[in-house]
Amino acid sequence: MRRIDLREITQAVKELSIEANTIANCDLRDALTASIEKEVSPVGKAVLGQLIKNQDIAKFTNLPICQDTGFTVVFLEVGMDISFTGGIVQDAVNQGVREGYIEGNLRKSIVKDPLTSPVNTQDNTPAIVHIELVPGDKVKITLMPKGGGSENMSRIKMMKPSDGVDGVREFILKTVKTAGGNPCPPIIVGVGVGGTFDYVAFLAKKSLLRKIGERNRDPEIAAMEEKWLLEVNKLGIGPAGLGGKVTALDLFIEVFPRHIATFPVAVNIQCNAARVKTRII
């Protein structure tokens, strides 16, 4: 049994909150740089140039990449040979978010109770925490600050089983088209298919943890990802929604078995400020 003091988790979450919000990942940066070549609209090219420059400025000034530093979503993969000491895991994560968002000058965007008390919690807590038990004695922490603008354009649909693959394709294209410029394109499209009403949304969100260019391991699904990405990029939405060929940088699909009577699909849209950082303890 390996003992881990939860203060270590707090410290890691704090650092990841700041890093994720200020330092863009290389895969995103490379994808944006490559997309300038692909873009044909001059305004679109200018927008992509701004986004790259923005990442540089954020890195050197420690300003957040985007002022909306998101709802903090934290995925924990906890090895089963670990015993935590010093409290409760969720509290440790929230403490890390609190410290990171306050010290890092990140925006606090969470209001307490949407129905009865819509006041800001002042520290961006609570985080959304997903915990999964895995073999081993390590903890993998993945932190994703998720912006409200792109979350608002995400959709879920309980399709009929007979709608099939075409139904999924249609739902993805319609969702992206309706979203237009609102979710700050170029976007990343995260798709979940199968499971239950709640689980399909989780799948879509989880797909967004992949690196740009990383395909689903099932070659048939990988082919769908590539084909539908091309179609999304024919919608003409373009960078910032001002028209162009670069609407999405990638499209990820995650699947799970489904009930014979249901066919859930979720499309979780990620914006150009796609922020994900991981650390293993």
Binding site: I65, C66, G149, G180, L235, G236, A240, G241, G243
Partner: protein, 191 residues
């Protein structure tokens, strides 16, 4: 479509607005004000009560933004646009108060687009996500009302060469519609 780079001073005059065309890349300088959902609700209430507004609305440009906190040594944190459609219901009363320009991201309602033509206004798009870059063009920032709203407080900003693009001009041009029309190829969504 415009696509030329223009330098524009805020507050705006009707003459200047008439030179702006959808697609123009504009470097905006001068005084602008920040307000988003909550600040708009309060402004609307003040106008309804016949109270004096906390800023000079004549020719004003409103930037839809909720900045991140200013780190030490800076006047403001990251400051990119928020989605504009949420402010659509407040636009008629803001125009009536004297506002001429708006900066945000994402398309506007038909009502707002019609008012932009009717009242000779303009809607600029700033690049969503380019918040650190936009922050660099803000030289001064001061909370002038609704301090309790934190990031949603009403701020007066002095900006220099802030990069924005004309989305809706006073002639009815709409870059979101035209841009997408121009670059979309036929995708049969329905099969």
């Amino acid at each position: 479509m415009g696509n030329t780079e223009k330098r524009v001073e805020a507050p705006l005059t009707e003459e200047v607005i008439k030179t702006l065309r959808m697609g123009d890349e504009v470097l905006l300088s001068g005084i602008i004000y920040t307000a988003r959902d909550m600040a708009h609700a309060r402004l609307e209430e003040m106008i309804g009560n016949g109270e004096e507004l906390p800023f000079d609305a004549a020719g004003s440009v409103i930037y839809y933004v909720g900045p991140s906190p200013a780190p030490e040594g800076r006047v403001i944190g990251s400051a990119g646009p928020t989605t504009s459609y949420r402010m659509d219901p407040f636009v008629p009363v803001m125009f009536k108060a004297g506002m001429r320009g708006m900066i945000g991201k994402g398309p506007r309602s038909e009502e707002v687009k019609n008012l932009i033509v009717e009242k000779c206004g303009v809607y600029f798009g700033a690049t969503g996500g380019a918040a650190a870059l936009l922050s660099e063009s803000i030289l001064e920032a001061e909370v002038i009302a609704f301090d309790d709203l934190g990031p949603e407080a009403l701020r007066k900003l002095r900006v220099c060469d802030m990069p924005v693009i004309v989305i809706n001009d006073c002639y009815g041009g709409d870059l979101y519609l035209e841009g997408v029309r121009k670059y979309s190829s036929d995708v049969q969504i329905w099969q």
